[in-house]
Amino acid sequence: MFVGYFTERPYQDPNSGYFGATGRSITDLTMSNASYNPKLGAHLYNRYLDEKIFAEEMGFDGLMLNEHHSTPFCMGGVMNLEAAILARITKRAKIVLLGNILPIWDDPLFLAEELAEIDMISRGRLVTGWVRGTGRESVAHNAVAPYNWERFQEAHDFIIDAWTRPGPFRWEGEHYQFRYVNPWSRPYQDPHPPIWIPGVMSRNTVAWAARQRYPYVMLATELEPTKQSYEYYTEVAKEEGYETGTQHRGYLFKVHVDETEKLADEAGRKFVQGPSNPFLEGNQGTVRPFIQNLPGLTQRNNLLPTIKSFAAAASRGRADQHKEAKEEEKKPVEPPKPRDTYIDQTEKYSIISGTPDTVIPRVRHVLETLRPGSIFFWDGDGAMSHEDSMRSLRLMGQEVIPAVREMAKELDLKSPFEVDPKTNKPVEDISSLEESATTASLAD
């Protein structure tokens, strides 16, 4: 079992007017950066890096970062820079990028170089992940929406070549052309860092990941549709002639641990407060459907079972298809605004918040239901303070992670670092974490 830690790194400025319903528009991509305070930004970037260091000390195997642009809900516009800093200031944990938005890169050679440098500085601790991005990212960096999928695939193929094929060589693709590919930096890991693919809704991407035998990480989707999406991955794998295992499945979910149930309730509710994040279910942020659902970005009829979750569909500008999907099931359409979104989410395991005694059994339910080999606890988000995060991280380290490791043994949940997803054979050197830490200390 691989246990990672994640937060969106929200830009928490209650004075901005973008912190909940203040009367100011909090619709995604309508908020002006005129309100941005770089001094607060400096404080927050350093806070989130400090929390990552503490997460490593508490025993997390991975520190996950993500990337969004032009928004207060995620400060990771230049995720690779944060990753490079973590590469130097942490010693053991994997640095998991879920993920770089390939189609918005006009120069994927630059990305290949950056990732190789991060892998070297961390001495082989990079796990790279690539996404297509929703419409908002195509708008923020002006990538041609209908070519999103083509660019994703070509950038992927190009980066793999740039990492593994001796240069110099020439690349004359449909979307990328380079007359001299010969990056003077290659990944520390051989042949290249592990590649995991995160996602929510695109069947194309799941099928593609399954064909490549890349682990697929479902991002905070509801349990049943997540299970069905894994099943789709397994179907494609069967067509490709291999069996899937826990090493192919990752899952990100919201977990907060606190000293008392009262504190857990107070902090857990902060998941749905703070900067308007349309990807945090129940948060007051909303998207503009026509931006999320840009022309040609994804195929209307090629969506995962997660379309049946209103929150997931709405955040992707797919509320109409959600309605259609629910009608097909002959079930009543879920109301878009639950009575108490926090309670609603705790009931369906979208948020798990409590003391270790109440959190551990609920985490077990998730593990038993989905059988993932890699999990990520999404915490410290919304309006949660540094103190909230630190209390939770400490208790995760002291009680939850050890319990999860025991469960994983019992349930036989193997991560991609224990069973190679490419071959389904045990990874011979499973002490890579310790080894890299040793190498680091020798060098330092």
Binding site: V139, N142, V144, A145, P146, Y147, R288, P289, F290, I291, L294, P295, G296
Partner: protein
């Protein structure tokens, strides 16, 4: 929006894909290129023009029922294909009319292939980087809102499309938006290489603009007027970007006068 019985649905097979079009009337051949949001069939202006001319209204390659050239990446690609389409018609020259984005396609076609044109009419055409103002970016609006912005008043939008446009109309818009994005995402609705070349175009050109066009600024009309050696500009008062839907009779009169001067 009624489709006249006069119009016949036809298609023309090019090696790059079949192009569908509507045809009606007799006389000098007039070809109309549609807006970025596609053709919704014959409109009142088409019916009026078909009384005096042989009118041809194609779905541009990639739009409507015409096959989508998946390789096309640029408005110029569409212009070249429209030129090939005109070349395949049984007439050496045509009078070309472009509405909005179709005007941009027509202008690109004209600078490459002016010998097939008897006259050119550009109506609210983008294609040039505006010296003043901005071309309204349809990608940052719901398409319903974008089309609504194209009229001077909302009542005309409702009259043309209803309070809620039908699923059929929305499907046309969806399909069209994707093709528009494929060839014109960036730069959005202009080509800095077009403006210098207009100076070489001798074709007599009529520019028609709505005085209240919120989609393509008037400065673009002035730029066309300045660059095109044989051009005239007519600005219709109380008209928006979709002035052919707002004032079909007035627009028909202007176009017919222009065509008749160039027969």
């Amino acid at each position: 929006m009624s489709e006249s019985d006069l119009f016949v649905e036809k298609s023309l097979k090019l090696e790059t894909g079949t192009i569908s079009y509507l045809e009606a009337g007799n006389g000098p051949t007039v070809v109309c290129l549609h807006h970025s949001w596609g053709s919704v069939g014959a409109i009142r202006l088409h019916e009026l023009l078909a009384q005096s001319y042989r009118l041809i209204v194609p779905d541009m390659p990639g739009w409507g029922a015409s096959e989508r050239p998946l390789w096309a990446r640029d408005v110029r690609d569409i212009s070249i294909l429209c030129g090939h389409f005109i070349n395949q018609l049984d007439t050496p020259q045509v009078h070309l009319i472009g509405f909005g984005f179709g005007g941009y396609v027509a202008a690109e076609l004209a600078v490459m292939n002016s010998q097939i044109l008897d006259s050119l009419t550009l109506i609210g055409a983008p294609g040039l980087f505006p010296r003043e103002g901005e071309i309204l970016d349809q990608m940052m609006f719901s398409h319903r809102q974008y089309v609504k912005e194209s009229f001077v008043d909302e009542a005309t939008f409702i009259e043309q499309f209803g309070e809620e446009p039908s699923q059929a109309i929305r499907d046309v818009w969806d399909h069209s938006r994707e093709m528009t994005a494929r060839v014109a995402w960036k730069p959005y609705f202009f080509n800095r290489r077009l403006e210098p070349m207009l100076a070489n175009l001798k074709t007599n050109t009529l520019l028609i603009w709505g005085a209240s066009d919120k989609v393509v600024p008037r400065s673009v009309a002035e730029q066309y007027l300045k660059q095109l050696p044989n051009s005239n500009l007519h600005v219709l008062p109380n008209a928006g970007h979709l002035l052919e839907l707002e004032w079909p009779e007035k627009v028909e009169t202007l176009i017919s006068e222009h065509i008749n001067l160039n027969i």
